[in-house]
């Protein structure tokens, strides 16, 4: 049996009010590819942070080469040969490949002048790139590299510190098929050289190809460990789900009315070769599920006029509407509650009042003058009906909690006449109480006849709140689910690009 390189035992990590990891144990052997899977929030990222020495565990030990580390610091983790290839790549675009690989560890020449030996760095990086079969040079600027190539740079960086365990967090989420295959080859090669890889992904197909062993996390616990021979999609999905979903569902007061918003053969810039067809009726909440990068946000941005639409059309109550910019969308009553409320939803430094009326200012204006009375009234009204907790409507939006900030974004639209509302991750970073309020608000809107699209990566939310669920996979709608078909299993199958209800456990 191969030697154990890294061993985590009894790791627990609690944050105030949350247990992110609960008595988790994990073992990595030399030259092994360990697949780590689990849903969003299962505890994968926390686990990786502990391995990297970024956050200390609340309890438990990390053992590297049999030596116990009660507290692992970033430096110790690096010295022990643990390296990361991040989901969001941490590279300096303005520097060349060699400089990135040796960042912070530059070889210096010229004595007191401390000049960087650029030629030396490049000479040392060249063999690493060759080993990875990279098709770029050490002096190529990183900004000229594709995502896949940048990943190679990260891997080269890992090799340059003699990494023995490379942790890859969703490495293929932005790669094409060929690039993915190339990466899997590199992993096989690393393995052959005795380097271990912890491979975190949602893509079970890749796990099937490359993993020697799979550990499944759910709600901060290890719920299963599968040997290579035991791997199948069905088994993995069943292990990943299987928790009790709290019932959040508030049924509509009346059935959805015909009419609403039809998206016909829409082509977004993110997936120029895919067409999207989707309908949402007045009075229903349509959940839009899918993995990160499946094209849900691009769809929302296209419908709201942020990104240029490359083809197809948007119909409101059967009539095609032109949406060239957000102003057009707003005029049609199509509103977006964006994913990043601090960046796109609010002007944080402005008071609640001015944020609420930012989109509707001109409607209440006379001769282009702000109608301060109306503004105050609208803001007060919205603050009251949405129970925005703040000292007054003159408080800056930046002083509010996440939930209240989201309500301010909502208030902006609710003071107008919504017909279609797109919520992009409406409850991300929001506490449980505010979540329930936002769900109730969404249902209230639907009952008033608004067609609602809710983009969400939170499975509980998708299944608990929606009347119907559409699932996206790589830029197109991979399936629709009616309420009686709702299950995490079904949503996940569609999200990873498989069809519903397979005859057997398809591989």
């Amino acid at each position: 049996m191969a030697e154990t390189l890294l061993e985590l035992s009894g790791i627990t990590k609690t944050y105030p009010g949350v247990t992110a990891l609960d008595n988790v144990s994990l073992r990595v052997q030399r030259g092994e590819v360990l697949g780590l899977i689990g849903e969003n929030g299962a505890g994968k990222s926390t686990m990786m942070k502990i391995l990297g020495g970024v956050t200390p565990p609340t309890a438990g030990t990390v053992r590297i080469d049999g030596r116990e580390h009660a507290t692992l610091t970033v430096t110790e983790a690096t010295r022990a040969g643990i390296a990361f290839v991040h989901q969001e790549l941490n590279l300096f675009e303005n520097l060349d490949v060699a400089a990135n690989v040796f960042i912070g560890r530059e070889k210096l020449v010229g004595g007191p002048l401390k000049l960087v030996d650029n030629a030396g760095l490049r000479a040392r990086v060249a063999p690493l790139l060759k080993r990875l079969g990279a098709d770029f040079m050490p002096d190529t600027l990183v900004e000229n590299l594709s995502i896949a190539q940048r990943q190679m740079v990260e891997i080269a960086k890992a090799l340059s510190i003699d990494a023995r365990v490379i942790i890859m967090d969703e490495p293929t989420s932005s790669l094409t098929l060929t690039e993915t295959e190339r990466l899997l080859q590199v992993i096989a090669d690393l393995k052959a050289h005795g380097i271990s890889v912890i491979y975190i992904t949602h893509r079970l197909g890749e796990i099937m190809t490359c993993a020697d062993r799979v550990v499944v996390l759910r709600d901060g616990r290890t719920v299963g460990e599968l040997a290579r021979t035991e791997l199948s999609h069905g088994v993995m999905i069943r292990l990943m789900i299987g928790r009790d979903l709290k019932s959040l569902y508030i049924p509509p007061k009346q059935p959805a009315r015909p009419g609403g918003c039809d998206i016909v053969d829409l082509v977004t810039p993110a997936f120029p070769d895919r067409q999207i067809n989707l309908s949402v009726q007045h009075g229903e909440i349509l959940g839009l599920a899918g993995l990160v990068g499946a094209g849900r946000t691009s769809l929302a941005r296209a419908v709201f006029g942020i990104d240029r639409v490359l083809g197809g059309e948007i119909r409101l109550d059967g009539k095609a509407v032109r949406v060239a910019n957000p102003r057009d969308a707003i005029r049609q009553g199509i509103y977006l509650i964006p994913e990043d409320r601090k960046k796109s939803g609010l002007v944080l430094e402005l008071p609640i009042r001015e944020n609420v009326t930012l989109a509707s200012l001109l409607v209440h204006a006379r001769l282009w003058m702000v109608n301060r009375g109306a503004e105050q009234r609208i803001a007060q009204q919205q603050a009251k009906s949405l129970s925005i907790k703040a000292p007054s409507v003159d408080s800056q939006a930046i002083t509010l909690s996440g939930g209240n900030q989201q309500k301010v974004v909502l208030a902006k639209w609710l003071s107008m006449q919504p017909r279609v509302m797109i919520f992009d991750e409406p409850t991300r970073g929001i506490d449980v109480g505010a979540k329930a309020e936002i769900y109730a608000l969404m249902r209230g809107l639907a009952d008033r006849g608004v067609a609602i699209v809710m983009i969400s990566s939170d499975m509980e939310e998708v299944i608990g709140v929606s009347d119907r669920v559409a699932v996206m996979h790589e830029g197109r709608i991979s399936g629709m689910l009616e309420r009686e078909q709702f299950s995490e299993y079904n949503v996940l199958r569609l999200a990873i690009g498989q069809t519903l209800e397979p005859a057997g456990a398809a591989a």
Partner: protein
Amino acid sequence: MMKKELGLFVLLIVVSAITGAINPAFLSGVNLLNMANLIGLFGVFAIGEGLVIITGGIDLSVGSMFALLGVVFVDLLTKYEIWWPFCVLLVVAGGLVLGGLQAFLVTRLKMQPFIVTLCGLLIYRGAARYYTTDTTRGFGYGDEADTISDIASGSIFHVPNTFIFLIVLALVMGIVLHRSVYGRWLYAVGKNEEAARFSGIRTGAVIATAYVISGGLAGISTILLVFYTNSVSPSSFGNFYELYAIAAAVLGGCSLRGGEGSIVGIVLGTALLQVLQNLVNILGIPNSLNFAVMGTVILLGVLVDQQLQARRRLAAAAAGSARAAAAATLARGGQGA
């Protein structure tokens, strides 16, 4: 919101009082009116600069615009003998067009404001010098410029017309900036362009308008400045004036990051700069130190303001958490605290 302006006003009064105490000539009617005239001259285009700075941009081209539009203006009046109202209209239109060109480059072609207006600075100056072959343009005797000259450099009850014009302009622009929908958009765009766009605001148009207004005000300033100096030397006319405008705006509370500033602040900033220049003369400080004094005051002013703001933020945060503890809810408590 007005705290900054109040502080600036107090500073202006204190500096004036001290200078006046050392040399009473500072407070003489002649000197005060002279300063009022200069404040009027510089304030007009400082307001335009302020608008551009609030969008998060910058306009480095105004000084060179004065030279180019100035020589054209003098030639229109003297060489082509065009009726003066048309000359005025043409020069203001010229400013609007140049501002519009810069706006197009910034908002449509997504070029950086610093670069666009720096190139404007170079190009307009060069064009002015080439057009005149570097010769000074001025008014001869009997040129048909009396009426406009009287308007631009005259006074009403001893108050310089330039100063009166600045006050009127400040009132109008104050309403535009602080009361109109456009003003609100300008601040929103300056603070967070993306959120403004997500709220359906045509951010490009909002920003472009600021550059166009700045250009138009530069056109008006050209006319006022021409009659202040009575001649236009293309290589030096208006040199560094864009920096006076930027300095006034920054001193007046505009942040180069955008989204901050007020008309009152910009006017007070202009006034303080003129007082400083005047003080250098009147207190017998070597004239060569003029810029150094100005630089030092701006540096200290911005530094103190930043420190005060940081402290205020801390205090606000503390008060905020105290309020949260008291759980003042708008929904429950109506108006709240």
